[in-house]
């Protein structure tokens, strides 16, 4: 092959082939036709894309660039009755992944893991857990990162495609565990909760009230989510904010609780590492001023989700910190039930104020002997003395005459055996046994001897501390049974009051004023009387009326002769003390239950005394009377 031609050869060829050149030029027309054809095809295609389907693509372009992001609203604050902040919010910065926006995820996670001080596998696990949520929903990788981590991530955000930091309000507990079991805690919405939730309001990953008031008042507290519409690029980096709908904070709830009273009660319970409950209620309204359940959960353990280990510890704790003992635990009322017996006896005409029974220290019924707690006996006893000194024999007589069904009837009138309707979840109704109840549930006939156990508050009887407090208040106010309430006021973010406290009368016992007066006189003797069972509770300058109670846990022969301190903790009796003050014009009722606290007067009394001291402190100071609690062990049942 000749590689080089002289220009002369080329010129020769050119002149030689005029015919062939014409052929090529004809073919150029064909080539022009091909070019025109493709021009038409391209213009038609443009027509279809831009004119025909233009609107459709415009929508897609808009959706492409706009990301809608939820902004969590600050939850409503929770205050005490005087406006002291119990629970408020602070911002928490969380790290989340938007899978849709992330590219090169495995490398991003490798870089991210050391920044968050987490393992790569830990991060993958979180992503796997969220595998069935849509790709545009953020997957929470770590909550509540510190400022340094936040600053690093913000400065290096281009290294972490699809990763973003979000701010979310979290709870701040100003008094730590104060009323923790009543206020409750928050947690991520579970799959099950999400299924039954309103999908317009809740989405996966939302934080909702899980326990206590946070759960009961979720609707008030949650507020409304905000949304932000921002333009993002294909790598998920936000370019500019297009539109923002500010979140609406939740409503503020002012509780009826009084932080000072609550704290005093809690500190007294905690000081003795006691397990139990304290309830303080306004006698004439049903406002709960304190509601203590001890030991309590540690509320900060629940912020950002409780660890499995801590949860297991709570479950294993023999003192059951997860149970709100104010309403979720029931105990035999012990001698506090004698007020019920007294009312039933008086109302049915079995006894009157002059009725006297002789107490030799024991009572024979059938082929059994029922003992009075004072083995030497009380001698001749009338109603006032029977209550003040808690004579068992007197009430055996009453119980035998009244019968178990009528006892139950009056117990119910005073609120026992029925839920109080307080805003606390899983409230128990307790139990006021009747013949019909035993036949139905125990498949056995009622034994008359059992009535004698019931009348002194043992046997099948079960009450919650709150029920006993309500009963005490009802006796104190002359028969008005109020629903105990926790919420004083609910205010929306604009300051408008959307709910205000008003007393709710559940039941009013009329025509019994005389009987109530008698019972109250007996109760006054318990604290103020020379031989009262709770003389140690007395406060100078204040007239207190109350009743002690001892709830037997077991009745075992092997412990009968042991000293109380030698009985194993879990077999020791529960201690009750319920009271109201001032006796002349009752304001508050205080009920204390100390599990395995042995005796009402010594085990539960000092706590009630401390609460009363606190509540009446201003007025007591004026008369210069204020005393510390002193225990007088001899003044017991």
């Amino acid at each position: 092959m000749k590689l080089k031609f002289s220009l002369k050869d080329v010129a020769d060829i050119a002149e030689h082939d005029e015919g062939a050149l014409d052929l090529l030029k004809k073919r150029l027309l064909a080539a022009s036709a091909v070019v025109l054809f493709f021009l038409i095809v391209i213009v038609l295609r443009l027509w279809i894309l831009q004119i025909n389907d233009g609107e459709e693509y415009e929508k897609r372009a808009y959706g492409n660039r706009v990301r809608i992001r939820q902004v969590a609203p600050p939850r409503g604050h929770i205050l005490d009755r005087n406006g002291k902040e119990i629970v408020t919010n602070r911002p928490s910065f969380n790290v989340a992944l938007i899978q849709e926006d992330s590219h090169d995820l495995s490398n991003v996670l490798k870089r991210l893991a050391p920044v968050l001080d987490m393992g790569v596998s830990e991060l993958w696990e979180k992503i796997r857990e969220a595998s069935d949520t849509p790709k545009y929903v953020p997957v929470m990788l770590k909550e509540d990162i510190d400022w340094q981590t936040l600053a690093y991530l913000e400065n290096h955000n281009h290294e972490f495609s699809g990763i973003r930091t979000e701010v979310q309000p979290v709870r701040v507990y100003h008094y730590e565990d104060l009323a923790a079991n009543i206020i409750g805690y928050l947690g991520s919405i579970s799959k099950k909760e999400l299924e039954s939730a309103d999908r317009d309001i809740y989405t996966g990953g939302d934080i909702i009230g899980k326990k206590g008031l946070e759960k009961e008042r979720e609707e008030d507290l949650r507020g409304e989510k905000g949304f932000s519409y921002s333009e993002v690029d294909a790598r998920g980096f936000e370019q500019q904010l297009l539109k923002a709908v500010e979140p609406l904070p939740g409503r503020e709830i002012r509780l009826t609780l009084d932080v000072d009273l609550q704290q005093i009660a809690e500190s007294y319970m905690m000081a003795g590492e006691k397990s139990g409950a304290v309830v303080v209620m306004e006698v004439k309204t049903g406002r709960l001023l304190a509601a203590v359940s001890e030991p309590t959960i540690h509320i900060n353990d629940f912020v950002g989700g409780i660890s499995v280990k801590k949860w297991q510890e709570l479950l294993d704790n023999p003192k059951h910190p997860l149970i709100n003992k104010v309403v979720q635990a029931t105990y035999p009322p012990g001698s506090t039930y004698k007020m019920v017996a007294a009312l039933a006896g008086l109302a049915t005409g079995v006894i009157d104020e002059n009725t006297v029974f002789y107490c030799p220290g024991h009572y024979s019924f059938g082929n059994r002997i029922y003992r009075c707690w004072r083995h030497s006996g009380h001698g001749p006893v009338n109603l006032i003395k029977a209550l003040s000194e808690s004579c068992d024999v007197y009430f055996y007589q009453v119980g035998q005459r009244v019968g178990v069904d009528r006892l139950a009837e009056y117990a119910n009138k005073l609120g026992l055996g029925l839920k109080t309707g307080v805003e606390m979840e899983y409230e128990k109704a307790g139990l006021t046994p009747t013949r019909a109840w035993k036949e139905r549930y125990r498949k056995a006939k009622w034994q008359d001897g059992e009535t004698l156990s019931v009348v002194i508050g043992q046997g099948f009887n079960l009450v919650t501390p709150l029920q006993l407090c309500v009963m005490t208040a009802t006796l104190a106010n002359g028969g008005k049974l109020y629903r105990p309430q926790l919420v004083e006021q609910v205010t929306d973010p604009e300051g408008k009051v959307v709910e205000n406290f008003s007393p709710e009368l559940v039941n009013e016992i009329t025509g019994f004023d005389r009987y109530f007066k008698l019972i109250r006189k007996g109760m006054e003797g318990v604290v103020q009387g020379k031989h009262g069972t709770a003389r140690s509770v007395a406060i100078d300058g204040l007239t207190i009326a109350g009743k002690t109670g001892t709830a037997q846990v077991v009745r075992l022969a092997q412990y009968r002769n042991l000293k109380e301190e030698d009985i194993p903790y879990k077999y020791r009796d529960h201690a009750w003390f319920t009271c109201y003050a001032p006796a002349e014009d009752p304001e508050i009722a205080v009920t204390v239950l100390v599990e395995h606290g042995l005796h009402g007067g010594s085990g539960a009394g000092p706590i009630a005394r401390a609460v009363l001291n606190q509540y009446f402190s201003g007025r007591l100071n004026q008369t210069g009377q204020k005393q510390g609690a002193t225990e007088v062990p001899s003044a017991d049942e």
Partner: protein
């Protein structure tokens, strides 16, 4: 050295020049928009491309300055040089996306496969113009062109750059079909071609190339993966509507939804910002240039001039059609730029050289206007 004929200036084609200038201007402004928002490091692509435009015009002037007939003698040295560059790129080239395509020249990364396209046009034009057979080419007459095409084809295929290799094949077919072939040659070439395509699909295509073709057939199936580019490009063009979103107002491009928006997908930026009206004007001017190129071929003074002009037009035409089809979702992503419009120095310089040849043929369309270099 050169005796410059005064008639050269008289025959300078103002229409061709104006069309080139219009397209380059639109391309530059489009690239400015496609470069936004700036990356914050390095020289913005529109400035680099500005330099390439200047270099391109210099190359254009250079190519115009000597008679295209000279290419008969320079053809093979250039051919060998191009093959050597391809070999060098293959052995020691700059890797990008798993393919060795570039030779780093410091100020600019040369993609030898781009000039190879033009080289093939010139080589085939030269060969077909020298070897005239009145009753048409027999298959044995095509052995040489096939070998001349095959060497760079295989080298580029091995880089691997399927799109550019196919471009060489398309140039070969366009130019071979253009000259007179015997019927038997058509039949043999046709069946060989079909066989080659089947063989290529079975054994030569890399998985990612097959994936691209599969995705093209069903792009919605994997919108975040391989179908993403095509889908986003269609959204960009389609959302332009009648009159577009306005210059610099395109959201698809500026928000990075469009991948490679300043290179292969430059036209989708134009489509989004200028809409149907602007697109039709742009495509109209672009195709006017191509048709004008064929008009140049029509009035070339000799067979070489016709073949050169025709070849250059076909080179630009097929790249434009493939690129636009890709941008508008008619073809899979094959990595073919839109000549003059897509960012890239190698492609722009090659195209400007080609257009220079076109002007050269135009200016020397009269039989005795040859500049004599000897």
């Amino acid at each position: 050295m050169f005796r410059i004929d005064r008639r050269l200036f008289e025959h300078f084609d103002m229409v061709l020049m104006l069309l080139i200038f219009l397209i380059c201007t639109m391309a530059f402004f489009n690239l400015y928009s496609a470069s936004f928002p700036p990356k914050g490091y390095g020289m913005p692509p529109y400035i680099r491309q500005g330099y390439f435009f200047l270099m391109g015009f210099a190359a254009f002037v250079f190519i115009v300055s000597f008679d295209y007939q000279e290419l008969h003698s320079w053809n093979y040295p250039f051919y060998v040089l191009t093959i050597l560059l391809l070999l060098f790129a293959f052995v020691a080239g700059h890797e990008a996306g798993g393919a060795q395509r570039w030779i780093n020249l410091g100020f600019f990364k040369l993609q030898p496969s781009e000039p190879a396209k033009l080289m093939l046009v010139v080589t085939l034009a030269s060969y077909y113009s020298r070897k005239e057979i009145n009753d048409g080419y027999a298959i044995k007459d095509l052995v040489m062109p096939i070998v001349l095409t095959g060497i760079p084809f295989v080298l580029i295929l091995l880089e691997p750059d399927l799109g550019t290799a196919l471009m060489l094949g398309i140039i070969f077919v366009s130019m071979t079909v253009f000259v007179k072939l015997r019927m038997s040659t058509y039949l043999i070439m046709g069946s060989l071609g079909i066989g080659a395509i089947l063989f290529a699909w079975e054994s030569l295509l890399k998985p990612y190339q097959k994936q691209r073709i599969a995705t093209f057939l069903n792009p919605e199936q994997d919108p975040m993966g391989h179908g993403y580019q095509v889908l986003q490009s269609k959204i960009a063009v389609g959302s332009g509507g009648r009159f577009g979103k306005g210059y610099m107002e395109g959201t698809q491009g500026h928000l990075h939804f469009l991948p490679e928006r300043h290179t292969d997908f430059a036209f989708s930026v134009w489509g989004e910002e200028w809409g149907f009206a602007g697109s039709v004007i742009f495509i109209g001017i672009y195709f006017l240039l191509l048709l004008w190129g064929l008009y140049v071929a029509m009035y070339a003074k000799d067979r070489f001039g016709v073949l050169l002009a025709y070849g250059v037009v076909m080179l630009i035409f097929w790249q434009a059609v493939i690129n636009l089809f890709m941008v508008m979702g008619f073809l899979p992503v094959v990595g073919i730029p839109l000549p003059l419009v897509s960012y890239g120095g190698s492609s722009l310089l090659t195209t400007m050289l080609g257009l220079g040849l076109l002007m050269n043929v135009r200016m020397r369309r009269f039989p005795n206007s040859m500049g004599r270099g000897e």
